[in-house]
Structures are given as C-alpha cells and as structure tokens.
C-alpha cells in the first residue's frame, strides 16, 4: 500500500509539474483560439464548485454543520473576498454547530 501511495504521488506530482512547465517551455505566443481561452477561463470555477458541493456536506459528522459552513462561507466570500477570512469563518461555524448538535 505504501509503495502504491508513493507511485501515485509521483504520477500526480509529475503531471502537475508538467502542466506548470509546458507553457514556460513551449508557449511563447498567446493562445488565440477564443473557445480554448474561454474554456480555460471557466475551468477553475466549474471544477471548484463541483468539488465543493455536495462534498462539504459530508466533510463533517453532521450534514447540517456542513450546510451551515457552506451558507456562511458563501456570505463571507461575498462580503470580504478574503481567502483566509472565509476559510476560518467556515471552521468557526462548524465548531459552533458542533456545540449545538
């Protein structure tokens, strides 16, 4: 199992590095294809949204706590836009929900 984990890590680390490296090595000109540019632009939003929901509901012992974290996270992200303020707000909400539930 341990060997498998390192093999998996190696594969994924190399993949991630290749993604970061290829533009530095080969792309000296801007991407001109409008669709490709737009697709790449939208990718992070879709990916992160898909990864966040519904996974956040099962990230804690209670789905209700996860749901509360989601709602508060949405509100704080809307207001403050600060990465760590949002992350910590979610943590605090789950902690408080843990006291109630």
């Amino acid at each position: 199992m341990s060997g498998n984990v390192y093999a998996a890590l190696l594969i994924m680390a190399l993949t991630i590095y290749a993604i970061r490296l290829l533009p530095f090595l080969f792309i000296r000109k801007p991407i001109r294809n409008r669709w490709v540019k737009s697709f790449l632009y939208y990718v992070p939003y879709v990916t992160l949204a898909v990864m966040t929901f519904p996974a956040i509901l099962t990230a804690t012992d209670h789905a209700a706590a996860g749901a509360a974290a989601l709602i508060v996270g949405l509100i704080v992200a809307w207001i403050s836009e600060d990465l760590f303020a949002v992350a910590i707000s979610c943590c605090v909400v789950v902690f408080l929900m843990g006291l109630i539930l």
């Binding site: 890590l9 994924m12 680390a13 970061r20 533009p23 801007p30 669709w35 737009s38 929901f53 992350a87």
Partner: protein, 326 residues
C-alpha cells in the same frame, strides 16, 4: 501601435499605485530575493492554516506524515492535493489520476502562460524550470504584480517561505490530527471548502455569468451523487466530466475575451495580435451599455484608452493587491 503607447502609460500608472504600498522595489537579485522572503510571510501563514486541514484529510485517507510531506513538497497545489488525496483513498487508476490532475490544475497552465510574458526575453531554461514549480495562485499573484519584468529570484524567495509553511502545516495536520478532538478536526475539515468558496464567489459577484456557472456546477455535481446511474461514477471522473461539459458549453455560449488574473499581461498579448484586437473592440462596444465597470476593466486589459481606463486602474490594482496578500 498607438495602443502600445497607451498601454505603457497605463502600466506606469498602475505601477505607481503599487509603489505607494511597496515603497520601493529592489534593484539587485539578492535584494529581490530578500524582498520575496518578506512578502512570502503572509502567504506562509495562510498556507499553514490551510495545509493543516489538508494534513487531516490525508490522515483520514490513510496517508502517513512522510507521504503527506512528499505530496505537499512536490505538488504545492491546494485543490490538486485535495483531489490527489481523494484519488489515493478511492484507489483510482493511473489514467484517472492523470486526467483528474490535469483538469483540477489546469489553471496553473493559464498562470504559467501569463507569467512567461513577464520574463526577460533571454531568461534561461533553469529559470523556466524553477518558476514552473512556483506557480500557485498566491505566488503567481505576487509575482505577476511587480513593476516591469520579473526577477525570478523574487519568486524563489516567496516560494521558499510559502512552501515551508505549506509542508509544515501538512505534516502537523497529519501528526496532530491524531490527537485533535473530533470538533477540531471537523472544524478544520471545512477550511478547504471555505477556501474554494473564496476563490469562486468574488468573481461570481462581479460576473453574473460565473455565478450562474457555479450554481449549475454545484447542482449538477449534486445530481451526480443522487441519480442511480450517475451515482456509480467516481468523484474524480465526476469532476472531469462536469468540468469539460459545463466549461465547454459555457465557452461556446459566452466566449470570454479577457483573462481574470493576467489582465495586466493582456497588454503584452495585444502587442502581437492587433488584428484580433480590432474584432474584440467591436464586441466590447456592444457590451458597453450593459456593464460599464466590465468595459473599463476590458479597456484596461486591452490598453485601448488611457482616459477611460484610469478610474478602473485603481480597482484593478487593488484587486491585484488583494490577490497578493492572500
């Protein structure tokens, strides 16, 4: 060619505003490196908090401290590592690992593309190989916002400090996670999702189309976990399928002309493709009535018109700063 000059003026303006905060930028390589070490400190602190949660997730997936350390040192990718942990935990195959890693980390491709425009033309291969390692959202944000060309040693300075925090947090998350009470690990467990929300929600606020995209993505993702046939699909492939389909359709329905982070570098791009620029100008003229702010933003990015862009240039620079401070 006129656009070129305007663009330079505008850069000077923006840079002036950055200088207000940073006072002065170093001149020597060593000075840049030290400056990078200093600016890396807030990133390091943030990374520590987030990677602690990552360590807990790694522990829950059955990974030990050494494995987690190697993962954090070699990947330095928040969402990417989160996906990696899930893939390892679910015993995913090699193809799924590679495709998921590519999809989840595609934004780094964009950032790398953008940062190549900040490099000196004669930058050696060694810098290209090293800078590629440094491409995270936050380090990119700081690096791309420097005045003129980027001194790679600045980025290296930021990276050394930031990655130290990233790795230390991960290892402590794995080790301390074991002795943490349930409420604490529950609380830290949602930190990662909070961070994701902080990345996707602010742009959604400014661009309603992205807001819709986020809502559709979440709903579709939820459908995939409840509908009978779709339920069988692993979470890794769910991310791939939904990303390709939703982002692909979105790109066809609403092509996006500006890039979110590297707007400043759009200026460099313009130098090369004046023809395409013309057609875009027409597009933006149509949008003008609908969304003033956005047009200012576009103009700024395109180096179209200095006067129109200058009010927006404040906004732009502050966005950059926020990005850098994270």
């Amino acid at each position: 060619m006129c656009a070129n000059e305007n663009n330079q003026n505008m850069r000077a303006e923006e840079n002036g505003q950055i200088e207000e905060k940073k006072k002065k930028q170093p001149h020597s390589r060593w000075g840049w490196f030290l400056y990078g070490l200093r600016n890396g400190i807030p990133i390091c602190m943030g990374y520590f908090a987030v990677s602690f949660a990552l360590g807990i997730a790694a522990r829950n997936a059955g990974m030990d401290a050494a494995q987690s350390f190697v993962m954090s040192l070699t990947m330095v990718a928040s969402a990417g590592q989160f996906a990696a942990i899930n893939l390892i935990a679910s015993g995913a195959g090699v193809i799924e690992m590679i495709t998921t890693s590519v999809i989840v980390n595609l934004r780094y491709f964009l950032m790398s593309c953008s940062l190549t425009q900040k490099l000196k033309a004669d930058s050696g291969l060694q810098h290209r190989f090293l800078l590629a390692y440094c491409m995270t959202d936050e380090i990119f944000g700081l690096s791309v916002s420097v005045d003129g060309t980027l001194e790679p040693w600045y980025t290296y300075g930021i990276t050394i400090v930031s990655v130290s925090g990233w790795c230390a947090g991960t290892v402590l998350g794995v080790l301390m996670g074991n002795i943490l009470p349930v409420w604490a690990s529950n609380a830290l467990g949602v930190a990662m999702y909070g961070m994701f929300l902080a990345i996707i929600i602010p742009p959604a606020k400014k661009e309603h189309f992205i807001g819709g995209l986020v809502a559709v993505s979440m709903f579709a993702s939820w459908l995939f976990t409840v509908l009978p046939g779709l339920k069988q699909i692993s979470s890794g492939f769910r991310v791939i399928i939904l990303t390709i389909v939703i982002a692909g359709v979105a790109a066809a329905v609403r092509p996006h002309d500006e890039e979110p982070e590297p707007e400043r570098d759009e200026g460099c791009y313009r130098d090369h493709d004046d023809e395409e620029d013309e057609s875009r100008k027409e597009d933006h003229d149509h949008e003008e009535d609908q969304d003033d702010e956005k047009v200012h933003h576009n103009r700024l990015a395109k180096g179209e018109d200095v006067q129109a862009a200058s009010p927006a240039s404040n906004m732009h620079t502050s966005t950059m700063r926020n990005g850098g401070d994270r």
